[in-house]
């Protein structure tokens, strides 16, 4: 069972959450090229390993969360709010 440690509600079971998508994708500008839109709409990194993604705490606080999960093991190493970044990346940036 995947359990997700919601920053608002604490550790809750997976069935309270809905999977969103890869959190590294960002919406192109409306007038971006068709190629850019194709990449955004259809193509995926489909990472094997550490993956940053969105989950919705649908049956809890109804917040969108950012979760770092290993797609090979299901292990969750970090949970934050959408604008947060895991400590390792925050350090790397400063």
């Amino acid at each position: 069972m995947l359990r997700i440690n919601c920053p608002h509600c604490g550790e809750r079971e997976h069935s309270e959450f809905t999977y969103g998508e890869d959190a590294n994708r960002s919406l192109p500008a409306t007038d971006a090229s068709l190629e850019t839109w194709n990449e955004y709409v259809y193509q995926r990194d489909n990472v094997a390993g550490e993956h940053m993604e969105y989950w919705h705490h649908a049956l809890g606080c109804r917040t969108w969360l950012k979760v770092q999960r290993n797609t090979l093991t299901h292990e969750i190493s970090w949970v934050g709010l959408p604008h947060d970044m895991p400590p390792s990346q925050t350090e790397a940036q400063s």
């Binding site: 069972m1 809905t18 193509q43 489909n46 094997a48 797609t71 090979l72 093991t73």
Partner: protein
């Protein structure tokens, strides 16, 4: 190596079954092949077989990282059907049905294809109308489809009576009488043995780690058993497609997802054909050994772990109990998961390129078992001729960029369609 036949079985039995030969060789990889197929699942093995048989290309290797048949081809619920609506799909899957019907004779291996019928249950008038529309489009494509009344449904599957009287009254159903099941392992082993007999090298425990490039062209692969060169490299690794193409900097319109399946202890005959529930996601059939084999939805988050989680487990079982309450009395024998290549329109890709020397076969979602023969046949044609066959010409990689998606479900860009 000899043919499998009744006489042979009797003769071997008399000699204590000590003289059977292995069904395919265990060769060392050569340094060069005309064609390398990565992935010893159903599609890879079928491709190698048709390359040798139809196109006379026998200097072929199938490279499998584990043992053949250990991937999705050995993990699926074996439903074989062609109840598709759209032009790009229907003729392809229907051609596959022809190959299923002759597979055992062609391969000299009993693939146990059993056309016991696939019946989709309708629980409302609206659903029944939608099925009638699907059935009509199937008929227009020359695929047999029969719309059934409630009584006809219950006559075929008396085990559904309980649900009909309780929470999910049955309005009718759509039946594809010539659809059914086949034996998953036998399909892999049959193609492997037949391909091997035509000279194909099946190399197990050989994982492709990277590609060898010369300029912009792919000229071979790096494996844990050394470098192997080839004029053409075909990719048929199902859920692992993006992992391999990422070595080439190539992103695919694919997400990898886990689908679980379940089998109960053997039980007396209770489900006659394949039944799909219309008010929840659940499909069931009964194996020849008596186990009820069933499944439902994918888990829903992208993953490469070949196991699922409990919420979907619970969901599948509760859908099952809604339509067949008697299931609760059976013990579950096994549960497992497989990683599927979920494409963004629910349809597959069988294409040349987009890099010279590379050929793609992917995007089977959770319906690629039934496609095994047609996919192998078309992929072999595409590799041999550097050009798609009419049957797979809609399955291009660039259809997404060009706006020619084949979206059977009408759900838009979404990697969770069938």
């Amino acid at each position: 190596m000899g043919k499998y036949n009744a006489l042979n079985i009797a003769w071997q039995a008399l000699r204590g079954n000590k003289n059977w030969q292995r069904a395919w060789r265990d060769p060392q990889p050569k340094s060069h092949y005309d064609v390398i197929i990565i992935g010893g699942g159903g599609h890879g093995l079928a491709t190698a077989y048709y390359l040798a048989k139809v196109h006379g290309i026998t200097n072929v290797a199938v490279l499998e990282k584990s043992w053949i048949g250990g991937g999705n081809v050995g993990r699926n619920t074996t439903i074989v059907r062609s109840n598709y609506m759209l032009d790009g799909n229907a003729p392809f899957y229907e051609m596959g049905m022809d190959l299923w019907r002759t597979m055992a004779l062609d391969l000299n291996y009993n693939a146990m294809f059993s056309p016991r019928g696939v019946m989709n249950l309708a629980h409302s008038k609206a659903q029944y109308d939608a099925f009638a529309r699907r059935g009509n489009s199937m008929c227009l494509n020359g695929i047999d489809a029969v719309i059934l009344s409630r009584d006809e449904v219950l006559e075929r599957e008396p085990a559904l009576r309980a649900a009909d009287q309780e929470r999910f009254p049955i309005f009718g159903g759509l039946l594809q009488p010539e659809a059914g099941n086949a034996r998953h392992d036998a399909v892999a082993w049959g193609y492997a043995r037949a391909a091997d007999q035509l000279g194909v090298d099946i190399i197990q425990n050989c994982e492709v780690l990277d590609f060898i490039k010369q300029g912009e062209e792919i000229v071979g692969v790096k494996t844990n058993r050394g470098d192997i060169r080839a004029d053409k490299v075909g990719l048929a690794v199902a859920g692992n497609s993006s992992r391999l193409t990422s070595k080439l900097g190539l992103r695919l319109p694919i997400e990898s997802h886990v689908l679980q399946a379940f089998v109960t202890e053997p039980y007396k005959p209770v489900v006659n054909g394949v039944v799909t529930f219309g008010a929840g996601h659940f499909y069931v059939s009964q194996s020849d050994k008596g186990g009820l084999v069933f499944g439902g939805d994918i888990d829903g988050y992208n993953t490469y772990a070949q196991r699922g989680n409990l919420p979907v487990f619970e969901d599948v079982i509760s859908s099952g109990l809604s339509i067949m309450p008697g299931l609760s009395r059976l013990k579950l024998l096994r549960n497992w998961g497989g990683i599927m290549d979920m494409s963004m329109d629910g349809s597959p890709i069988i294409d040349v390129g987009p890099i010279d020397g590379l050929y793609l076969n992917t995007g089977w979602c959770y319906g690629g078992f039934k496609a095994t023969p047609a996919s192998g046949w078309c992929f072999a044609h595409t590799i041999a001729n550097d050009k798609a066959h009419a049957l797979n010409e809609a399955y291009t990689l660039d259809r997404f960029a060009k706006g020619y998606t084949i979206d059977e479900k009408g759900a838009g860009p979404y990697p969770k369609a069938h």
